[in-house]
């Protein structure tokens, strides 16, 4: 096996895992605390990418653009929560699915109205566009390293906030027993808004980081959000740790499956059959994984302790 290729694929898997974690973190908290299925969470991923793309070009600075785009995306999330999401928490899951499906349509069309149909190319500054040379044959693209480090940083920060601060304590308490937290005098509405907006900002950050590689496009969040749901279901809904482990598993399996499954299948199949079967199976791999995990452990790998 080509070791340079293997390392590149490992990096790609890490990168996908990290991006999925950023999406899944908000999703799992929102679901865990508010029992709210937000299919439109992917829209914040898209909105973040477009806002930062515009600012990066406008300000001619990548870092400044991203730093400004984060609070803006957070504001979009906050407004969405106050206007729409808030009145849905007490409804059933069917209403959540439908209403957030409507929100997706609205976000996609508004984005289309503002930024046009062509999508957006976001330039990378030269200092992020290089390669880090480890050895003669192994070079790592520095932007991918930057994405992974930034993502890990957010993961550590989230872990700190959720497990070490008073706010995090309230969030965890809210996830395990909402009514009790309310009875203890915590303004649960404010807590909900905060978590929703923060989740939106983190999802937006994922969009901002990937957009220099893939560009920003309408509906870019709609496919990845489904994978993020797979992540939180594998990890156990409501658990940050579960989201992190689940995201890395899904990111790795998806990437590795796409690059190495054909070689694996060739070990016990004819070359032709393996080459036709591999793409189909690798695209289905994460869903197969999810089905197996749900069949064996319906609550996911790390379900929150008290529900």
């Amino acid at each position: 096996m080509d070791s340079a290729l293997l390392i590149t694929q490992l990096l790609n898997g890490m990168q996908l895992g990290i991006l999925l974690f950023l999406l899944a973190a908000g999703l799992t908290l929102i679901f865990g605390i508010m029992d709210f299925i937000n299919l439109a969470h992917g829209s914040f991923y898209m909105v973040g990418a477009y806002i930062s793309g515009t600012l990066v070009v406008l300000l001619d600075s990548f870092v400044l653009g991203v730093l400004l785009a984060i609070p803006l995306t957070m504001a979009v999330g906050y407004v969405t929560e106050i206007l729409i999401a808030r009145s849905l928490y007490l409804r059933d899951h069917l209403d959540h699915v439908l209403a957030t499906f409507g929100i997706i349509l609205i976000f996609d069309t508004v984005t289309h109205l503002i930024w046009g149909a062509e999508g957006m190319v976001i330039p990378l500054p030269a200092w992020l566009n290089g390669q880090i040379t480890l050895t003669e044959s192994i070079q790592l693209p520095s932007y991918r390293i930057a994405i992974i480090s930034a993502g890990l940083l957010v993961a550590v920060g989230l872990y700190y906030v959720v497990s070490k601060t008073r706010l995090g304590m309230l969030i965890r308490a809210g996830a395990s027993n909402r009514t009790m937290v309310q009875a203890l005098g915590v303004d649960i509405k404010v807590l909900f808004s905060l978590v929703f907006a923060a989740g939106a900002a983190i999802a937006g950050l994922a969009g901002m980081m990937i957009s220099p590689i893939t560009g920003a496009s309408i509906g870019m969040g709609n496919d990845i959000i489904i994978v993020a749901f797979v992540v939180i279901i594998i990890g156990g809904i409501g658990s940050i740790k579960g989201a992190f482990v689940g995201a890395l598993i899904v990111g790795m399996i998806d990437t590795m499956g796409r690059s190495y499954l054909d070689q694996l299948l060739k070990l016990f199949m004819q070359t032709g059959t393996a080459e036709t079967a591999a793409p189909a199976i690798s695209a289905m791999l994460i869903y197969i994984l999810m089905a197996i995990i749900l069949a064996v452990r319906p609550q996911g790998l790390f379900p929150p302790k008290v529900r």
Binding site: F31, I37, L39, I84, S87, L88, R91, H93, L94, D95, V97, L98, A99, F101, G102, I103, I104, L105, I106, D108, T109, V110, H112, L113, N222, I226, F229, V230, I233, I237, T276, P279, A280, A283, M284, Y287, I288, M290, A291, L294, A295, P298
Partner: protein, 325 residues
């Protein structure tokens, strides 16, 4: 809620709608509007799919976000045999129904072990699997889809290439499926399914194995939706994995909710209004400002949101309230 009075607005409206659907080909012929016949055909096919979803979602409380997969499977059960020159319509129908039923049996057996959001997501995951499976079948067009060059053929001299004949096949199927579900919902089996939705523990305490009942309901629903898919394949003459994407399943749920879940006429009301909105909004917007119709998803999404937030019981519920005044 059994009333002997059939003169409620809902019943009058429903009966008028059925009569209208029965004579649509004649009207389309008189006014020379083949386009409306085509729309009406689509309404009937989607209604069959919506009825099948309404049974498990509305009466059974099983929110499947993967029901479009059955439409896709049914359509591919027409497209793939025709690609290999097996043109028998009976073969297509048997294939569509049985493959869908088997898919429903396998996926349902796993999905129904879960509840709530897990069920929603696992049904969606299985539909995504089907989506990616057909996406990777390069032989049958993959991403680009597959054109069906001719329609299913029936030995008995029925020519379904003819729009009117095809319409009446859909209409008869629609009436048959409506009647079938009317019988199922009222039967002992249907009562167990409804009972399990409102209080599963009690049904279990009464000695019913709710899992088995739900599985049977899920398989019936999948099989009927697969049949709708076979009709859809003949209707569009072009099939692609896009038919089973998760947004399609979301639209199907919207149709059921818009019409009113767990009601006999809800699905047809829902599909009808969904397609009317889909056709009308762009036209209306273009009238206001040329080219604006391109952005019809915006008002459409808003309407969806407003329906969820403010309209309880969908159109069927609205007509019920109209009758009580």
């Amino acid at each position: 809620m059994r009333t002997s009075n059939f003169l409620t607005p809902k019943w009058l409206f429903s009966i008028a709608l059925l009569l209208l659907l029965a004579v649509t080909p004649i009207l389309a012929d008189i006014f020379d509007q083949a386009f409306y016949l085509s729309i009406a055909t689509r309404i009937l096919i989607l209604t069959i799919a919506a009825i099948s979803l309404n049974f498990i979602l509305g009466y059974g409380g099983m929110i499947s976000l993967g029901h479009a997969a059955f439409i896709g499977i049914g359509a591919y059960c027409v497209g793939i045999p025709i690609y290999h020159d097996y043109s028998s319509g009976w073969l297509h129908i048997v294939l569509a129904v049985s493959v869908s039923a088997v898919f429903a049996l396998i996926t349902g057996a796993i999905s129904l072990r879960t509840k709530g959001v897990h069920f929603i997501m696992i049904t969606m995951a299985f539909a995504q699997m089907a989506f990616f499976l057909f996406l990777s079948l390069d032989e049958y067009g993959g991403d680009d889809g597959l054109t069906i060059w001719y329609d299913s053929e029936f030995a008995s001299g029925i020519d379904i290439d003819d729009p009117t004949t095809f319409y009446y096949i859909c209409f008869v199927s629609f009436v048959a499926v409506m009647y079938l579900y009317h019988r199922i919902v009222g039967s002992r089996f249907g009562r167990v399914i409804r009972g399990a939705k409102s209080n599963e523990k009690r049904m279990q305490a009464l000695g019913y194995n709710t899992y088995n009942y739900r599985l049977v309901a899920y398989v019936i629903s999948g099989a009927i939706c697969g049949y709708a898919g076979a009709l859809m394949g003949n209707y569009t003459n072009f099939i692609s994995p896009d038919m089973m994407g998760w947004t399609r399943s979301g639209e199907l749920i919207f149709m059921v909710v818009l019409g009113g879940t767990a009601t006999a006429f809800g699905p047809i009301f829902g599909v009808l209004s969904f397609l009317v909105l889909e056709e009308m909004i762009p036209d209306l917007m273009d009238m206001v400002h040329s080219g604006a119709g391109f952005y019809w998803h915006l008002p459409f999404g808003l309407i969806l949101l407003l329906v969820v937030l403010f309209v309880r019981g969908g159109i069927s519920g609205f007509l019920d309230r109209l009758g009580k005044r």
